[in-house]
Amino acid sequence: MRIAVCLPQVPFARGGAEILAERLVQELQARDHEATLVTVPFKWYPGTRALSQAFLWRMLDLEEVDGRPIDRVIATKFPSYVVRHPNKIVWLVHQLRQAYDLDRTEFRQFGERPLDRATRRALHRLDRLALGEARRVFAISRNVADRLERYLGMQAEVLVPPPQNLAYRCDEYGDFILSVGRLDRAKRVDLLLEAVAGDEKAKAVVVGDGPDRERLERLAKSHGLDGRVRFTGHVDGAALADLYAGCLGVYYAPIDEDFGLVPYEAFLAEKPVVTTVDAGGPTEIVVDRESGLVCSPSASAVREAVSWLAAHRDEAQRWGRHGKSLAEQVTWNAAVERLLGS
């Protein structure tokens, strides 16, 4: 089968969606499909830019290339699913959340002017149309599916993506908590930094880059965390696997995250995950006191969780192993079978 995997590309940014789409292409190719990644640069602001950028996808002709048909497209996140194709499958990573749950929050994009309000509604209408055209809509988590249902009254099947391919292993339950992900405010790495500041024995390694990095580094400095918190920036797969292998546990507590590959990656390295009750997707994976700790979204609660793990390494090990048994069930065979099913 000839399959185009569609992904909007925010220049210079790389996160879970990019990893997922690239891996999907590889997995399809490994199963003798002719698969390719189709990307279009995306900028979602200011004003109505999200709509005109979405329209670029609508203008693409992916029905055939070089005189040969493309049998199926698999679109991922907004606005790639605006693409036209008679066999459109959507594996929904997320919609433009500023038009949905992030509206009128500190992460808002749209103000109160009629133009802003109408742009948001036009995005809803566009999503209804584009997702409604798809033969099947999968969502990467219950959280994403619920949001679709809540705002647009549309149904999606939950299909959890398997984590990226790294040399996962567990070498030890070391002395640091690992944070992995793009550094923006919604990831709430600041909670971890404040937690570390509250426990003089705690240490953290922060992997990733993003617009919040400078603020986070200032925050770490203001708390005198030099030597106890290390910012690595982006690291390659081998280095990341080393960090997973050596950490005590993994912190991952974004606000109402759609999914995040991090908890399953942590589990494959047999590490427990610290998350918060409002983290969304991660709370579908991490079960409190079975595979990690699910605490309230405050620095003190995160500090307690981190300190507790340091003092209870046997539990950390047991929970990490339990997590691994869950993560091993999330396979590409199952995912590809559902995506290509009729």
Binding site: G47, T48, R49, L51, S52, A54, F55, R58, M59, V82, R84, E112, R113, P114, L115, D116, R117, A118, T119, R120, R121, A122, H124, R125, L126, L129, A130
Partner: protein, 414 residues
């Protein structure tokens, strides 16, 4: 965003006045609503969009529709058939020409000719005899930037009338039920209720005949009729002809206050709400019945047909209407479990679809969409046109047609 809100309001006694009184507090929590004083000719200065609640009663809605025809806005179409309203606004004010124009817009030369005949008094008024054939809905649709309807049936009629603007389906909100009290009814088993106006369009004659059949198997059954009774119905004569005794077999109550109305619904084992012909209206009474969990039997027409089968038994309006109705009442009267299940499903439907907050959310979505729509379209079109121009496309390039088509597909420029 500021919305100018045109509607009859209490103390006016109309369903739409009550509807607005229920909706406005919830809507005001979501957007800036300026309620327009009765008789105003235009929306107040600096409003972003105007909302017009439109029903078929010229006394209540004349000023609202006149304002709409001066400045377009979002129309809430409570009735699809507006002939009575239009006749009142035109012939009723001596404007024969406007009435003829409205009929011609609807039905061409034939319409105009009929209009002359009505105005001259040579045929019976069309709003009394053939309103369904000549709904005159273009009188408002031609000025609507968008239309809010309460049912798929009216949405279909609006589309069939050629309206191409946005249409939103927004359910009728349900008021909060008052505390339960004994409504003071005699014992009867089963107790069948029909509440609201009592007239031929509510199929009261058919209900009475079906009730007679029901009493053959359930002689203890009691029928409660509550609401204003049309003199044309000749109710006492009918009861007598059917051998039904007022007070013993059929309890006839005139207007009952809201609190007692709710408690009557609660007390009934089954409520009946029949309708034919339909003018595309919804029934606030049926929504109340759902909210308190009383099983309901309705006519299989219009909005009533759209109720889920789990909450309403539907009687086709055909030659077996009376027998079907009697059989349904008998079935429901004898099956406690079925009534319980229907009641639970009705309550759930009222909670999920007819909650005031949900209705206000849908209103907000519609109003926000309309208020800035033109500016959004213009901005996106400008972006696309600029890019098209920069790559050398001219207005007569073949690609422009594709561009336009794709834009329309995603709701821009269409």
């Amino acid at each position: 965003m500021r919305v100018a809100y045109f509607s009859p309001l209490p103390p006016d006694r109309s369903g739409i006045a009550d509807y607005s009184a229920l909706l406005l507090p919830a809507l005001s929590e979501r957007i800036d609503v300026k309620v327009v004083r009765r008789g105003a000719r235009r929306p107040p200065f600096r409003t972003d969009v105007a909302l017009y609640q439109v029903g078929n009663n010229p006394e209540a809605h004349d000023w609202i529709v006149r304002a709409l025809r001066r400045q377009s806005g979002v129309v809430v179409l409570h009735d699809f058939v507006l002939h009575h309203l239009v006749a009142g606004m035109t012939l009723g004010t001596g404007d024969r020409r406007a009435y003829l124009t409205a009929l011609e817009r609807e039905a061409g030369v034939l319409g105009r000719m009929l209009g002359h005949a009505v105005a001259d008094g040579s045929i019976a008024p069309l709003w009394e005899t053939r309103a369904e054939e000549f709904p005159l809905v273009h009188w408002v649709l031609d000025h609507a930037e968008g239309v809010i309807v309460h049912s798929g049936y009216v949405e279909w009629r609006v589309r069939a009338a050629g309206y191409t603007g946005p249409v939103w389906r927004v359910p009728m909100p349900v008021p909060p039920p008052p505390p339960a009290r004994d409504p003071g009814l005699p014992q009867g088993a089963p107790l069948i209720g029909s509440l609201g106006h009592l007239n031929e369009a509510k199929r009261v004659p058919q209900l009475l005949e079906a009730f007679v059949l029901l009493r053959q198997t359930r002689p203890e059954a009691l029928l409660v009729l509550a609401g204003w009774t049309s003199p044309r119905l000749a109710l006492d004569e009918r009861l007598s002809r059917l051998g039904l005794e007022r007070g013993r077999d059929v309890l006839v109550l005139d207007y009952v206050p809201e609190d007692r109305l709710w408690n009557l619904i609660r007390r009934c084992d089954v409520c009946v709400s029949l309708r034919s012909p339909t003018m595309g209206e919804t029934s606030g009474m049926v929504v109340r019945m759902l909210a308190v969990g009383t099983p309901v039997v309705v006519s299989d027409v219009g909005w009533f047909s759209e109720l889920p089968d789990s909450v309403a038994a539907k009687v086709p309006v055909d030659r077996w209407e009376v027998e079907t109705l009697a059989a349904m009442l008998d079935l429901l009267a004898g099956d406690d479990d079925l009534r319980r299940r229907m009641g639970e499903a009705g309550r759930e439907l009222a909670r999920s679809h007819h909650a005031v907050g949900h209705v206000a959310d849908l209103y907000t979505a519609a109003l926000e969409e309309v208020a800035g729509r033109d500016e959004v379209e213009l901005t996106v079109l400008r972006d696309v046109a600029q890019a098209a121009g920069e790559v050398g496309l001219t207005p007569d390039s073949a690609e422009i047609e594709t561009l336009t088509k794709r834009l329309r597909e995603v709701g821009i420029g269409g």
